[in-house]
Each structure stands twice: as C-alpha cells, then as structure tokens.
C-alpha cells in the first residue's frame, strides 16, 4: 500500500510555501467517551509504531462511562520525544460539543479533520480543514445500530491515514493484534477504513505540510502502557498473591495480572494456578490480605491509587513495624481526596513516605519509564523480602495508563532473593531463633514462615512493642533498641535501592532533579535548553530513602531545580531534609493541573528562574 503514501506525496506538490514536516507533530482526536474510539486511536498509533516512527499516545478521558468528551493525543516525533506537547498541530474533531473549543486550541497553521456535519464557528484562516463525510461513510458500511458510533470512528482512521500517509498494511496488522486474530472484526474495520481512505483520496486535496514516512526507529521497541509492564514485572518477579480493589487508574494493573497469570502461571500438570488474585471488598481488606500472605511467605502485592492509599495507612504502619514484606503499587492520580480520578499527579510522595501514624518511614521505588515499571515490578519483591518491609512502587496515571515506547523488557538478571528465612534445617543447625535479633548488624533480622515444622520456629507477630523474641514489651529499652534497629535497616536499605540515573553535560552549573513520568519532558527540555545555551545536568531519582549519589549531585551544582507534578514540592521537601546544608540551592518547580508535564513548561520554568 505504499501507493497511498506516494499519492499523498504527489498532491503535496500542488501546495506551495509550506515546508514539509515529516514525522513530527502532535495530533489530537476529540471524541465522545464510550463511543469506541479507543480502537481507532490504537489502530493509528500502533500502525505508526509499526512503520518505525516514534510515537506516544495519551488518553485524556473524563471520570465517566459514556457521553463526555475525550481526547486522545498521538505525538509523532522523529527525535523520539514522547512527552506531552502543549499544542497540537492536527485535530481530528469527532465531538460536536467541544468542536469550537478544540479548534480554538489547535496550534497555528494547524490541520483540522472534522465531521462534515459540524459547523465551523471559529475564525481560523491559518488552519487547513479537511471535512470528513462520516455520515455517508457509515451509511455505506451500514453496520448494526449499536456499532454506528464505533464505525464512525473507524472512518477517521481511513481519512487520516490517507491524508498523512499511514500504511494500510500496518493498520491491518495493528487491528489483527488488537482483535487477536479475529478476522471478521478486522475485516469490518478494514472495510470502513478503506472506504474512508478512498473517499479522502477522491475528495480531499492535501494542503498541509505534515507527512508520515516509514522509519526504523522503533526496531526492538514495544508500545505498551506502564500498568501492563508493572503487572508483567510482578509476574516475572514471582508474585503468588495479589489482592486489589477497583480504582482508576490502578485497575488496569490488576486487569493485566488477571489477563497474563492464567497464561503464564498455570501448573503444567494439573492446570491449576500457582497464584491467586482476589478482588477484595475494599482497600483495607486488599492490603490486609497482602500482609497476611506476605507474612505467611507468599510474594504478595496490592495495587491502588490515592484514596486506597489513605485507607491502607493503618496496615502500612503494621507491615512496616512488624516487618512484613509486601509490595504496594500506587498508580497516582490527582488528589487531595477523590480529586480527579482520571488526571495524573505525583502527589502521594510525602504521604506515602510517612504512611502510618507514629514514626513510619516507607521505602519507595519510582519507575520513570515503562521498562522500569517492569524492572521494579520484579525487583520490588526481592527488596521487600530482603528488607522485610513494604515496598511502595509509585507510578502515576500518565505512566500507568498511557501508551509509551519502551525498550524490550530485560528478563530478570538475578534469581529470587527471598531474604533471611530460616527453614527447619537451619533451626536444627542453629538451635535457637529470635525473630528480631540483629544477628548480622545490618538491622535485618531472620524470620521463619508459619507452618515451619520445628518446635523453635514459632513466634508471635504483633503491631505492639516487642523485644527481640517478638514478645510484648513496654520496657523503654526494648522499644528503643527495636526502633534503632529498624532505622539501621533503613540505612542498609539505601544502598540496596535503585541508584539514580545521572546525565552529565559539560560545564553545567545547574542541575535538574526529577522522577517518574516526567522524565521524557525533562529530557526534551534539556535538549531545548541546550539550544538556548543553558546546559544542565540531570538526575532522576528512582528510590527513597536516597542513595548517596543524590547528595553528591546536589553538592556538585550551584543551583538545583526539583521538578515534579504536585502542589507542595514534595520531593523537593524530602531533598531539603536530606541535605539541610544545601537546602538553599534547591528550588522547587511544580506543575500540577492534571495534565502530564511538557518540555515547554520545564523550559519556561527554568528560564524564568535563570532569568533567561
């Protein structure tokens, strides 16, 4: 189908003045949620990806099931940038209610595909308009009534494909993947797409400058969302117990577990499950079950978002203090309170760090890419069992639910680390057992699992103060000794956790610090700042408590900007506490309106401070 692209090319020649822009734009598809546009958008983005073009896709959807506006943005970037762009060059307008607004927001000299029934009320002489005969196309295909909206959405796939130059074979391939080979579905969709494409070929004349061209930049990459990656990471980390409660944007993590576990983790002989996933009655129960399972010796996890984290506070404190390994995935959304369930934020950093009344310090991992979602997915279990403490993995809606390119996942590089567990044989050998005795001086003590067949194995776990033998004690010295040991363990933890990723530039006097899903925006901003002759080093935090490299980085720079998506500057605060004597160097740049970070914002924020 290379012709279609070629034909577009030819038409271009009729257009003058405008420069040709290849593989570099941001396109937003404005639809109504519940109308099935997701398949269309996936078809587009996946076919681009298969054409070797770097892409990323973000779904801006309402907290609602049907009838409200939704925007799907596809960024195409020959340079491989994947962060949110603040302006879109191309609009596919399928939602009459937001049409005016969408058109107003379209970048200058933009392109607008629109359902030809819409009336253009905005003055946008700079925009190239492509009316789409959606109604006619649907009529032509004549689908069952309940598929009309869906087919209407397929129509734009064809027209956009024709006008920008998407390879039809790749679209078919994308649909085949999507429908897992169900040919009838693929055919119906392709029929629509082809009809639409033909109609465009016949009726529309290419007048804009945006083109897609096959490239080779996605070779060996994946196009996937973070929650699926996290779930796969957990599975390859040997998760045997998961309990969860539905909540946006974390549900799809559990969905992915439910999807892949039956494929990957059935006992071959018996066809039975080597795992169990429980949809709990709420988040208190979900984490309680995970704590019970982790205590019993399973690789146990739960996944949730903000409100669920609040409800998990008491159990988080218990697990911390009784030293029970569990993994908690927090796919952050906008808070406080119920907040914006379908908007992204990094607002749980401080709350999770101190989750639980009394003195509680939780360990957090902060994946900053899809590959890290996978990697931390399995590492979290090793860390939880090694450290005997809850490991909180904090991603966010943007990373978790949106579509990103990723390197292929590396198969776990090391065997399970089950930590310090004593079996019956060990007890025979040692002849004694104290659950909370710091035998090795690293603050980490030995545990036995319930059911261990040895008279010395038993101990009594409790959230109350205890001595080395896990016996209730109110003695001031016992309390202090135990707490000091746990804090010693937290020191031990530091150097076991993922180190930060540091990028040095020559002669940079300023440093940027970020974490999590903001990485692509910061990376892109670095490039842009460079072109403005501002060179900065960049450190991406991947875990709390901090490793020493972070302190070093701060010391090495005259001024350090901490970039994050929350109101309080939460990581900035934790860093201030880490290096009080450098606190003045640190500056907080926070962006927190529910939209993912953009490079533009970062550049402006830094320039603003640097007086640039």
């Amino acid at each position: 189908m290379a012709e279609s692209k070629a034909s577009v090319r030819e038409k271009t020649d009729t257009k003058k003045d405008k420069e040709t822009i290849v593989n570099d734009f941001s396109m937003v598809v404005a639809t109504v949620n519940g109308s099935g546009s997701q398949t269309s958008n996936l078809a587009i983005i996946r076919s681009l990806f298969r054409m070797g073009i770097p892409v990323s896709g973000k779904n801006l959807f309402p907290s609602n099931i049907q009838g409200l506006p939704t925007w799907f943005t596809i960024r195409v970037s020959s340079e491989g940038h994947t962060a949110r762009r603040e302006n879109n060059e191309i609009l596919v307008a399928m939602n009459p209610t937001t049409f005016s607004e969408d058109l107003r927001d379209l970048g200058s000299e933009g392109v607008c595909f629109y359902d030809d029934r819409f009336k253009i009320t905005e003055e946008r002489p700079d925009v190239t308009f492509y009316p789409m005969p959606v109604r006619e196309l649907v009529k032509e295909i004549n689908p069952p009534t309940d598929l009309r909206d869906y087919i209407a959405n397929m129509a734009y796939v064809g027209i956009v494909a024709e006008m920008l130059g998407i390879d039809m074979d790749e679209i078919r391939g994308a649909l085949e993947t999507h429908f897992m080979g169900k040919q009838s579905a693929v055919d119906l969709n392709m029929r629509t797409i082809q009809a639409a494409s033909s109609s465009a070929e016949e009726n529309l004349i290419k007048q804009d400058s945006y083109y897609l061209e096959r490239s080779d930049q996605t070779h060996d990459l994946l196009l996937i969302d973070g929650n699926t990656a996290s779930a796969l990471g957990a599975i390859y980390g040997g998760v045997s117990f998961a309990a969860w409660y539905p909540i946006t944007p974390a549900s799809s993590l559990a969905d992915a577990l439910e999807q892949y576990l039956p494929q990957l983790r059935m006992d071959e002989e018996t066809g039975k499950a080597t795992y169990v996933v429980i949809q709990a009655e709420d988040e208190l129960a979900a984490i309680g079950m995970a704590v019970g399972a982790g205590w019993a010796g399973a690789r146990a996890m739960t996944s949730t978002s903000g409100p669920g984290i609040s409800l998990m506070a008491e159990f988080a404190g218990l697990a911390f203090f009784a030293e029970i390994p569990i993994v908690v995935s927090d796919v952050q959304r906008m808070g406080p309170s119920t907040g914006l369930p379908t908007r992204t934020s990094q607002g749980d950093i401080l709350f999770v760090r101190f989750l639980g009344h009394g003195d509680t310090n939780q360990v957090m991992l902060l994946p900053g890419s899809i590959a890290e979602c996978f990697e931390f997915g399995w590492q979290a279990f090793d860390l939880a069992e090694r450290l005997q403490t809850p490991i909180f993995v904090l991603s966010d809606l943007d990373l978790g639910m949106n579509l990103w390119m990723s390197e292929k996942f590396a198969y776990p590089s090391q065997s399970f680390d089950r930590g310090k567990i004593l079996a019956a044989e060990d007890l025979d050998r040692i002849g004694k057992f104290s659950r909370y005795q710091d035998v090795d001086g690293d603050g980490i003590t030995y545990r036995t699992l319930p059911g261990t067949d040895h008279p010395l194995a038993a101990y009594f776990t409790r959230g109350t103060g205890h001595d080395e033998n896990a016996i209730y004690s109110e003695k001031p010295d016992d309390w202090e000794m135990n707490i000091e040991r746990i804090w010693r363990k937290l020191e031990t933890a530091r150097e076991m956790l993922p180190r930060p990723v540091i990028q040095h530039t020559k002669d940079a006097h300023i440093g940027l610090i970020g974490y999590g899903s903001t990485d692509p925006a910061i990376q892109e901003a670095l490039d842009r700042l460079n072109t403005k002759n501002i060179s900065a080093d960049y450190l991406r935090i991947r875990a709390v408590p901090f490793v020493h490299e972070i302190e070093t980085f701060i010391r090495e720079h005259d001024v350090v900007y901490v970039i994050e998506m929350n109101t309080d500057g939460q990581m900035y605060k934790l860093l201030q506490l880490e290096v009080p004597d450098q606190a003045e160097k640190l500056h907080s740049l926070t962006h927190n309106n529910g939209l993912p970070l953009s490079a533009h914002w970062v550049v402006e924020a830094v320039l603003d401070r640097e007086g640039g």
């Binding site: 019970g292 205590w295 699992l449 009594f460």
Partner: protein, 350 residues
C-alpha cells in the same frame, strides 16, 4: 465416646498420637483477668488440639485487637501467631490461608473486634469461605478499653459507668448465616464440654467455621442481669442438642435409640452426632436455623450448639482453583515464567 485420644506413653506421661504432651500445646501465662471467659476458651482450644493430635506447628493463630485477641498468646506457643489490627483479622486470615493451604487457621476475635469495627471484613471473609476456625469471644463489651458497649450488647442493658444501651445487638450467628456460612455455632465459655466438641467439629470443617462463644468479662460485664454473664448463661443455657464429634465413622460406639441421634458426615471423614434433647432441631436446615435465631434473639435463653452445618460450598482455595502445593512452597522455577515466554508476551506489543 469411642476415641480415647490421649494415651499413656512409655514414660508414664499423658501423650497424644503424635507423642506430644499437653504442655506442648501450652502458651505463655495469661495476663487476662482472673476468671475471664477467654481463658476458659483457650483451655478448650488447647485440649481439643491435643486430643485431635494436631501438630502445633500446623496451626496458625490469628487475632485482631482486644483482650480476646490477646488470648492466642496464651495457647500454643509452638504455633506461629499474628495479633493484627482491630477488626482486620479476616483479611490477614484470607491472605495467610491462601498463601499456605497446608496450615490450619484458628482466629480469635472479640465482639467489638468482629461486630463493631470488623463486621464488614467478617461478612466478606465468610462469603469467601476462607478455611479457618473463626472464634468470637463474645462478652458484649470492649474489655481492653475498659467496658464500653460493643455492638453485641443487649438492648436495654445497663453498664455502671456508661448507662443504658439503646440499640439492638448484632447477632454474630445470624450475620454468618446470611453470609452463607456453612458452619455456625454458638457456645458458652461456661460449658467446656460442649465447647470442646464444637471446636473439634470446627477444626474438621473445610470452610469458614464460625463459633460465637459467650465469654463473660468478669471485670466489666458479669452482673447477673447481663446475658453475657456467667450467672445468666448458666441459668439460661439451652442446648439445641448434645453434640459429639467422632473422628471416623466406624469409631462411633455410642448406643442410641433410632431417631434419637442424627449423624452428619464431614468432608474429612469425621462424623457429627447430634443427640436430641428437649426439642427437635435440624442443623442442616438453613431456614430452621434462621427461624430459631429470630425467635430466640432477645429472648430469655442462651441457645447453644451447632446451629447450621453444610459443606456444600467449597473452600476458597478450591474456588480459586489453586495448586495443591501451598503457594509459599513454590520455588522460583514454578513462580518465574521462562525467558521465552517473556519474548512471546512482548510480541503483542510490537
């Protein structure tokens, strides 16, 4: 009864089939009040397990928070235990039971722990049929926080400092029953004989076995007019039947008239014998159980016995179609899928 579970070993000491002594089932010395009902229950738990010759290492003791929830410290020092959070033992139990199918869970909770803060987790645990013995040591008050009303306190009950309770009690057995519980019993700390039989039966049950045991709080709620007091219980206990647990069908040696005793076979091969007392009562009939509870609630009697039994619903690990090996015993080989499988999974995202 046919079975004499304890025997005399060579050393002339009382041992059970495993060769374990009663002291092997002991816990730490109790720190509960002298005469507290909870201590009587602990004794019967130890006795039942000793007599059943269940290895303490195979038992896991779970609890929430309260005087009752402390009591697992006072039995079975050789069993792992977890004194968890107030009202949250059910979730801990669900996780532990699924993580390790080979252990036997005994949960001890209080009426505050289960019926006040914990009623939600309780109901959902029962619905899931988590395999465990779930004991509610029901004294109608919060013992550990010094005597406030719990949700099982009788309407109209008076406590000295607190005044009159204006609310209807939560009936733990009723809640269990309508949550589809297959083993619902009520007993009395002052009736150790029945209690021990019911405990044995509960330990034989494959799903969630709920025992609501009236367990007087001698410090805060033991005045004669309280339905949770020893005196009232002794005076008003009304057993539904005389229940006997027999390890195996063929060991039944009790002589009885036809019609006088009903038998119920358990999944694990044991049998329950119900000897009729004053009235006919069929513990396998849900409707009868409901009716009985409704009629006797707030009535003048303490009905005890096995209120309902049915092993129809499979226990949770079966529902979830889990491997027979306890999850905690699975090795990396079984838990981490192959390198190839990962390649295959990734194909779909290319």
């Amino acid at each position: 009864m046919a079975t004499t579970v304890s025997e005399i070993d060579g050393s002339g000491k009382n041992v059970n089939k495993l060769g374990l002594k009663k002291s092997d089932y002991k816990g730490s010395p109790t720190t509960l009040c002298q005469g507290c009902g909870h201590n009587s229950i602990s004794s019967q738990i130890m006795a039942a397990l000793f007599e059943l010759s269940i290895k303490p290492e195979k038992i896991v003791k779970l609890s929430g928070i309260g005087c009752s929830s402390k009591s697992p410290t006072y039995f079975l020092n050789r069993s792992h235990g977890f004194n968890s959070l107030h009202g949250r033992m059910p979730s801990i139990a669900t996780g532990s039971a699924l993580a390790n199918r080979s252990i036997k869970l005994i949960g001890v909770s209080g009426d505050g722990d289960t019926a006040s803060i914990g009623i939600g987790q309780f109901i959902h645990l029962v619905r899931r049929n988590v395999p465990m013995v779930y004991i509610v040591e029901n004294n109608g008050v919060y013992g550990l926080t010094k005597g406030q009303f719990s949700a099982t306190a009788d309407k109209g009950q008076v406590l000295r400092k607190i005044g009159v309770n204006p609310f209807m009690p939560v009936d733990v057995c009723m809640e269990a029953l309508i949550a589809n519980c297959g083993f619902v019993a009520r007993s009395f700390a002052g009736d150790p004989k029945q209690l021990k039989q019911l405990l044995k039966a509960a330990l034989s049950f494959q799903g969630t076995a709920v025992l609501d045991i009236i367990s007087p709080c001698v410090t805060f709620n033991n005045r004669g007019e309280s339905t949770k007091s020893y005196a009232w219980g002794k005076a008003h206990e009304y057993p539904l039947h005389d229940v006997t647990w027999v390890p195996m069908r063929d060991e039944i040696e009790i002589e009885y008239q036809p019609g006088e005793v009903t038998e119920v076979d358990m999944h694990d091969g044991s049998t329950l014998l119900f000897k009729k007392l004053e009235q006919e009562y069929d513990p396998t009939d849900r409707m009868e159980a409901l009716k009985m509870l409704e009629e006797t609630c707030c009535g003048g009697v303490l009905v005890t016995g096995l209120i309902f039994i049915s092993e129809e619903q499979p226990p949770l690990p079966e529902i979830e179609e889990m491997v027979d090996t306890p999850l905690v015993h699975l090795t990396e080989k079984e838990l981490r899928p192959s390198r190839d499988s990962l390649e295959q999974v990734m194909e779909a995202y290319r």
